[in-house]
């Protein structure tokens, strides 16, 4: 159980960091999209 708990924690950390990265990328793409939209308008 101890082993599984630590594994779970590691997995959780990994997924959390991945999650964070995706959020940042999403924010960047969103900004670019808006800028491009204004430009086109």
């Amino acid at each position: 159980k101890d082993k599984s708990a630590s594994e779970l924690r590691e997995e959780l950390n990994r997924v959390s960091s991945e999650n964070k990265k995706i959020k940042e990328m999403l924010a960047t793409v969103w900004e670019n999209y808006n800028a491009l939209h204004h430009h086109l308008e």
Partner: protein, 304 residues
Amino acid sequence: MDQYSSSLVDTSLDLTIGITRMRVEEDSTTTALVDELKRVNAENKKLSEMLTLMCDNYNVLRKQLMEYVNKSNNMAERDQTSPPKKRKSPARDDAVSSAVVGGLSESSSTDQDDQYLCKKQREETVVKEKVSRVYYKTEASDTTLVVKDGYQWRKYGQKVTRDNPSPRAYFKCACAPSCSVKKKVQRSVEDQSVLVATYEGEHNHPMPSQIDSNNGLNRYISLGGPVAPAAAASNGSYSLAKPVTTVDLTESKKVTSPSRIEFPEVQKLLVEQMASSLTKDPNFTAALAAAVTGRLYQQNQTEK
């Protein structure tokens, strides 16, 4: 805090309290971790989907923009390559050939279009600013469209316009092509004895022959105009130089002194023209301001 209160109440004799509590805590943390992991995974999945969707939209938008830029670039190239539209000169009515050049040019941005438009507008405004109109009173016997304004001209065309039955003659400065001044002369619709000369551009050379009222026969009355129309042409508005009215009275007795010649329509037109151009002329406003301030200063001095 809750655990302690529940253990105090429990009266049963359980020697293994410590171990079970630890096991319970471990189980709860594991389940919490599992729950958290599931939640984060779900969120992760959702975010990935949103990201792919957003990227697709972005690409679509970018394609649209590229198409638009290329289209506008084609139109800009077409404008540049087709020869500039020549003003319809009566003498040479050759058709305007506009070659359409295909082909896309990748590197173009909307800034270039803006610069192109600004440049065009600037050229138009520059040309518009240097247009001036001078009215000359001629004698009834004079049917020519020649105006002696101190410069030499070469006539390059003549045509009849719809709004005026009398023909309009086109002259360019004898010093062309170095001097680009052009002149259009036509009789006024309201008063056939008045010649309307429209000057475009500004002479870049001195006047070849001074108007000499002694020896030269000047048959024109410069109606409130400048000494030499060139002065009008040079600053794009009526110059305030001394108005010259040199009429050779020996020529024809009938002509009364110019000031008493009544030209109701033309005079009204002239006054309006002068008022509108003077108000636009910075030199005039500056001179007026200086004059006014100078007079105020003198008044103050006399009062002291």
